[in-house]
Structure formats: C-alpha cells, structure tokens
C-alpha cells in the first residue's frame, strides 16, 4: 500500500526516516542551527497552486519545488543528508491517456539514464515516448541548475504518473443527417526525479520473496482451507 501512495520520500518511509546510504566518518560533527531560523509555519508558499506554461490550469505538484526542508539531526546525532528531488510536469499534451499511462508506468523506478535509453527503444507509442523523454530531460536540467544536484546521472524516477486534462470538442457528420460530438483529449504528465540510486524493488508486489516469506505464505494458504458446506 505504501508503494502506491504518491508522497515524497515514500521509500524513506520503508527504511525508516534516516540516511539512505552510509556516511563517511567525519572528524567534525555537523551542527544544526536552532529551529527558529527555519521558515515559520504558515509562511510557506508551497501549498499554493502554481500556474504551468502551456495551459490555463494551476497545479500543486510543481509547488513541491518551493518546499524548504530545515536542517535536522538524524538518529546518530549527525546532520541528516536528504536526497535532492525535483518535481516537473507538462500540461496539455495531445496524446491518448491509454497510451501515455503505459509509458508513465514503464519509467517508474528506473535511473534517469536507463529511462531515457529504454524510451528510445519503444516502437509502439513512439510519440509518447519522445514526449516523456523530453520532459525527463527538462527535469534533469532543472534538478542540476535549481535544486543543487551535483551529478545529473545520479537521479532516478521516483514518481511518474499522468492525469487527464482538458478536452476540446469537435463534431462529425454521420449518414442520414445525424451528427456526433468528438473529443480531442489532452493529458498532463508529472515526474519527480530524486538524487541517488533507485531502490531495488520499486513495487512491493514484484519483490523477490525470501524463502521464509514463501514458506509463511504457503502455510497460511494451506491453513485457510475449509471443508465446503460444513456447518
């Protein structure tokens, strides 16, 4: 269930809020300034919707880029080094939702370079693959320039999903004086890139189960059995 929620740091929730990769022993302990210097609650701008170029609608997803995380200490008493992330989206993409959904799902959990490489191999939904790789490239650039990501290849696709946007209506004529309405559908595509290596199992249900887990599941299934129509 956790894996299906669209929250930042979802995979951190699985490991426990802490450092993803081991820190090198440093001689000086990094000190965290008093909390009064963090932005006072209620003054943040990141829960206000942001207008996105290309359309008239405003969205809350890009506003996550304005969120400032104050420096804190982790459980070892050292400065918590959070992975950088960058939210990017494009609105009013002229494409089918049924096709774009496959591409969005395909790209989840891959490193950025792997995603861009794999998208060039798609002979089906090639137009959508081109659009999505374009958006991921833009997000990569944004991450390096504005969100303090050091290496642009050290990113992975943490979130990738689509939503339906506006529909523009047209009409078509049928035989015998009958008419019908046509929908020209537009989509929104959202992507969040995060710094670091992707988790080994992005989807919990696809994870390779350990022998103990398999045994537990088997035993539980066997014990669930009942004799039918028995009172």
């Amino acid at each position: 269930m956790l894996s299906q929620l669209r929250l930042p740091f979802r995979h951190l929730a699985q490991n426990g809020l802490g450092v993803l990769t081991p820190l090198r022993q440093s001689s000086s302990v990094d000190f965290v300034p008093p909390q009064t210097f963090a932005n006072p609650a209620g003054t943040e701008k990141w829960h206000e919707k942001v207008s996105v170029p290309g359309g008239q609608d405003s969205f809350i997803f890009p506003a996550f880029n304005k969120r400032i995380h104050p420096p804190v200490l982790d459980q070892h008493g050292q400065l918590l080094v959070r992975p950088a992330y960058c939210c990017h989206m494009r609105t009013m993409i002229k494409y089918s939702q049924k096709k774009l959904w496959y591409i969005a799902s395909f790209v989840r959990g891959l490193t950025v370079e792997e995603a861009l490489k794999q998208l060039t191999y798609r002979h089906m939904n090639a137009k959508g693959a081109m659009i999505v790789s374009d958006i991921i490239r833009e997000a990569q650039e944004l991450a390096v320039q504005e969100h303090n990501v050091e290496f642009k290849t050290n990113l992975w696709v943490a979130e990738s999903f689509t939503e339906k946007a506006e529909k523009v209506k047209g009409m078509r004529r049928h035989a015998r004086g009958r008419m019908a309405l046509l929908d020209f559908e537009f989509q929104n595509y959202f992507v969040r890139l995060e710094e670091g290596a992707p988790p080994k199992d992005y989807y919990e249900w696809r994870r390779e189960k350990r022998p103990e887990e398999l045994l537990e599941n088997y035993v539980a299934e066997q014990r669930k059995r009942t004799i039918v129509f028995q009172q």
Binding site: P33, F151, G196
Partner: protein, 366 residues
Amino acid sequence: MISLQSSIKLKQIVSGVGSLSGTWHTQRALHVTPLILGWGNEHKPIPRGRFRPNRHWHPENRKARAMKILRPDLPDSDFLRKMQSKEASPAEIRDFYKERGLMRHESDNEIPVYTSCTGMLMEPFEPPEGDGKASLLSKQGAKDSALVVQRKGKTLLATRKLRRFEEDFDPRQFAEASQEIYIQAHEALARHDEDDLHKYATEKAYPEMLYNTENKTIYWKFIKSLEPPKTVQIRANDAFTKNNLFAQVTVRFHSQQILAVYDRFGRLIQGHPTVAKDVLEYVVFEKHAANLYGTWRVHGKIIPDWQDNRTPGRLTRVLRKDEAPMEEEIITDEEATKSNEAESSTTDESDAPIYDRFNRVIAKSK
C-alpha cells in the same frame, strides 16, 4: 414480415446509432456498446450481409470522409509554453497573434517611480592596505589609522551639509548606533523577512543582499565586535533637485560572525555553524536627509581585496562550452593522463568508494 430476432437486432442498431428523426446527440454519452461490436457470448457482432455492408470503404472518397469531421483549432500548447517561458522570438509571437486575429495590448499597470535612494556609492571609500592585519599598537597599525584620518576635508563639508537637516548628528555616536541597523538587516536576510529587510536596507542593497538566497536556510550570528565601529567617511549630495540631500556614511566594522548556509534539503553548502570568523568590512549607510521620514539604512559594503578569506563553498557545476576554466585550474592533457595513470595504478588493488560533496557513497567499491 420481420422475425422477432431481427426486429430486436434492428432495435439494437437503432438505439446504438441514433434515432431516425435526425437530431444529433453524443455517441459516447450513451454507455451502450453497439451491436456492431458485440459483447459477451450471447450478443455477437452483426455479421456482414443484409444489415451490414460487405464492402471496404472506397479510397477515392477519403477527402469526402475527412470533410465529415469538423476538427477545431487545437491549442498549440508547445508554442504557448515557449511564449510563456519567454523563449519565443518576437517575430514568432507576432505571427501567432496575427494568424488568430488577436490584438496584443500593453499592460495597464502603471507603476509610479519614486527615488528613495541613490543607486550608487558616492566616492567609495578605499580601504588602506593591510587594514585589520596589524594591531593598532604596532608601527604599521598606527600608520594605517593615520591614513584614515588624513582624508577628512570632504567628510567635514559633508557633515556640515548633513547637520542642516539633522542637527544632532554625531559621527562617533552614529557608528555605534549603525551596528544595530547592520545586525537587524542581516538577521532579516537570514529570516527571509522582506518587510524588515526593506526597513533596514535601501532599494539598491535589497536585491544585492537577497541574490542567490532563494530556497536556502541561512544561519547568521553576530558574536561580538573586535574593535569599536568607526566612521571613516561621510558624503552628502543633492540628487535631481537642489536641497534634496542624500547622505552616505561609511562605517568600519571589525567583528566576529558565524555563517552557515544550508540548501533546500538542509545540507550544508557554505560556512559552518560553530566556526566564528573575523570579518572586516566597510558598510555604507544611506539616508534621505531631506525627507522627514528618512532613516539610516544599509546601502552597500566595501570589502578589501585581501580580506576575502571566506571558506570556498561546496557547490560545483559543469562549465559551459563557451566558458574557459580559471587559469590556476587549467590542466594539460599530459598532466591529466599522468594523474589518471597514477590514480588507477594505486586504486586497482583497493577501489575506494566514490563520495559526493555531502559524504554520501555514489559508487561503491568494486
């Protein structure tokens, strides 16, 4: 006579495609699968024969078929994006509006212009060489302080001009009072408090102070003053009209401060939160003396060249193609290959993991 089954089929067709009265409706709103497509095991699709023509559509009638569809002008979101992020050329924008027969109108927002500060430093003070390095009691220190006292003529003139508007002005007392303004301005900057920053810094200093501070947490602390603040220069001049006096006072601060800058994710990128640094700077305060409600505010800073002892920040970036590396950093190809060979020879046995600037492992040992 039509059999029952075929009449049902007719009804299905009728309900699927539309009534015979000739009114148009939304095909997709009906939520009924037409029998032509069929569903399940019982309702098979209509076979080609009596009720469905057994012909392929004629390729000659392609254009006629296309004319049946009224396709509206779809919004060109690519170009709109280009325009809104200001990457479209003026010619392209002009063509866009012309094609659609739209008028571009100038915005009606007229902003009145009000000069509340001068946009420059009047005769910026030149700090004497070696200031702050030698103590006042040494021979060098005494010479330096003497230099500062020498350039007093213009300062006295300016003080007189200023006293016409502000009778109680005393340079010595001002120096002590200005330290409070300096501290307030910097604390407001650390808090990203724009209202207070306007109060304690002029409109010229405001963007200079806020530059590059977005999405960062700044921790700044003023620990103590190593030497009492000293007024070193006063300049006062009229701007635009006569008697519209702006006064600038340069004050020398030698203090101990702490600065730690954290990026958007709370990672340290500059300075350190516990290491105090000695800071020598000449801060220029400005006041619109002719204005009854004018206040002294931070207008600019003069930092001597040799005083730039900041710790280098941890941020790195890739040079653009047109940018040349700094002279000290130019490494010739030979040197680069030599160093690479040297590194590879030592690290073949023990492949140390690669760390990024926040001491995180990005590539493990092989």
